[in-house]
Symmetry: C2
Subunit: 356 residues, 2 copies
Amino acid sequence: MEVRKKLKQLGKKLVEQAKKGENPNMDVPIRALSNVKYDPKKRMILLGNKSSKRYLFNVAHIKKFLQTTEIAANVKKLLDTGKHVSLRQAFYMMRRTIPGTQIDVVEEQEESNAAVEDLELITGFSREQMHINANKNGAAAGKVIIKDKGDVIDWSKLGSGGWSIPSNTEELQFKKVDAKFVLYMEKAAIWERLHEDKVWDKLKCVIIASQGQATRGIRRLLRRLNEEYKLPIYVLVDNDPWGYYIYSVLKYGSISLAHISDKLAIPNAKLIGLTCDDVEKYQLKKYLIKFKKTDENRIKQLKNYEWFQSKEWQRELKKMKEQKGKVELDALVAKGITFISDEYLPEKIKKKDFLD
Amino acid sequence: MEVRKKLKQLGKKLVEQAKKGENPNMDVPIRALSNVKYDPKKRMILLGNKSSKRYLFNVAHIKKFLQTTEIAANVKKLLDTGKHVSLRQAFYMMRRTIPGTQIDVVEEQEESNAAVEDLELITGFSREQMHINANKNGAAAGKVIIKDKGDVIDWSKLGSGGWSIPSNTEELQFKKVDAKFVLYMEKAAIWERLHEDKVWDKLKCVIIASQGQATRGIRRLLRRLNEEYKLPIYVLVDNDPWGYYIYSVLKYGSISLAHISDKLAIPNAKLIGLTCDDVEKYQLKKYLIKFKKTDENRIKQLKNYEWFQSKEWQRELKKMKEQKGKVELDALVAKGITFISDEYLPEKIKKKDFLD
């Protein structure tokens, strides 16, 4: 169903309830930890099916009720004009004073964010589909031709910079995808390394980088390439718990965005490195950066995750703990400027040496 | 002079000194605060002309001497192969153990960074010219056609994403620049707002965003458009001391990069907003976010800067202090989704309402 139709339906229902003299209300799925669980079959962190009713005439509910209808009205405005805003801008759209009072609809962005998430839950559409975007960040290169906002863009012909990934990748169309897999990395400097070495040409792949955690725009882009073109997604991160967590979120989703896992998670994504075995094989122990207490705690947390209970992952995390330090991907440069492009990646891919 | 030639000259001189039985040495300009000052004529923060000699046979100098020659050798390797690395990768290139000892050439990135900066000072070339790049970040759009790495790229035909700005913008060539000015902003979400509203088409300009402080790649890009095409640079930031500091660095340079101000600073850049007068004029006081102590201290610091002593800037900073809070650019959305694009910017530009 189209977003606008869904919103109209929601509004219509509330008006009808009011006309009938009923207490207008809506069903809102519960977003608490108690309603989140890992689904081992789908291999995703998903929201359960508990929900609660939110009433207009209920002192505890009315403010949230108002905020939800306010954001719904604003989303309709965005859809009508074809415009998009950021989460921050959505906050300012909602930040009006209720006429005749001193009360603002929202005072903090947390409130408007929650309203946006509630509307995602109520309508079943992502906030990108409702024209509310998250951060913009990241670059892409490879033999891919897309059409976006009327422009035809060839990702293989964009110089050293690449295509700048927008916050919203819902609407772009793929015209041609000539690649065997996608390499996603958390570091722009590694992307620049691989791009300069033309890895996307030599290994027939797409290279996509964020800067730290992948934005939702990047996650949807990866997911779409995975789903629509059956491209395997290989995740290239530092050998440390934070890199592995980036992999975890990309693959299984996260607790805070559990309600949207079915649109963001990529259960068949694979970790291409840097693993503890790689650290040994390529004699990188010399470049170990000693763990701090926070790193060690993070490893412990990862080890307890339900989705990391396989023999392979338990072994990996045990090894990482025993290693007592992390190794960065950049350290591969010590073996040769283009070692990562000419040896590390081709060998890993040839041997299908992935952690799943 | 070409970088490689300069490096060879440096090496040759050291070898000749050694052959003559002299103590090999090099002149290194001093990078301490005592040797940095604001030049009111050039309107830039510049390094003074104090320098010191660094000797091979001097227990206090030898490690730094070695590090400088090591990075020089590595830069030659980069230039010979046409490859580029990040600062972090340069650190790993240098991180080798001196044969027959337990001593590493560098242990921390601070050391390799300092060596890179010393080499910038000694040779007079920027690290980008020596193929060592900083961060990659930011996007560009507008009626500009560039040539980069053999690709011809039209910044007006890149969909919603735009061109992803590389860490190094030294080598790209401008083929066509059809714009009257450049709008630089610190926030990608504002860039997406202006891009969706086609501001670059309507106002005949180039729009460039970073995410926070501009990278060196972005600063060079702005500087080159300013210098080579005489385009005014208008800086669009939040109404707070941090936004104004971004403007300050872009325009006058910074103390830590004083030695490179003559390549990075843009003395005729102008602040297009958001100013305290804008906050009043557009009734944005409602969206004030109360200053914290750190914000107030930052305003005090800015007020003391030599380059902010004009009547206009002293008035502005005094007003900001009295305002007791900051206002974000995003707040303009409360006046209408496209208010910033349709009213705010056109009016500011028409009236030449800038802070200089």
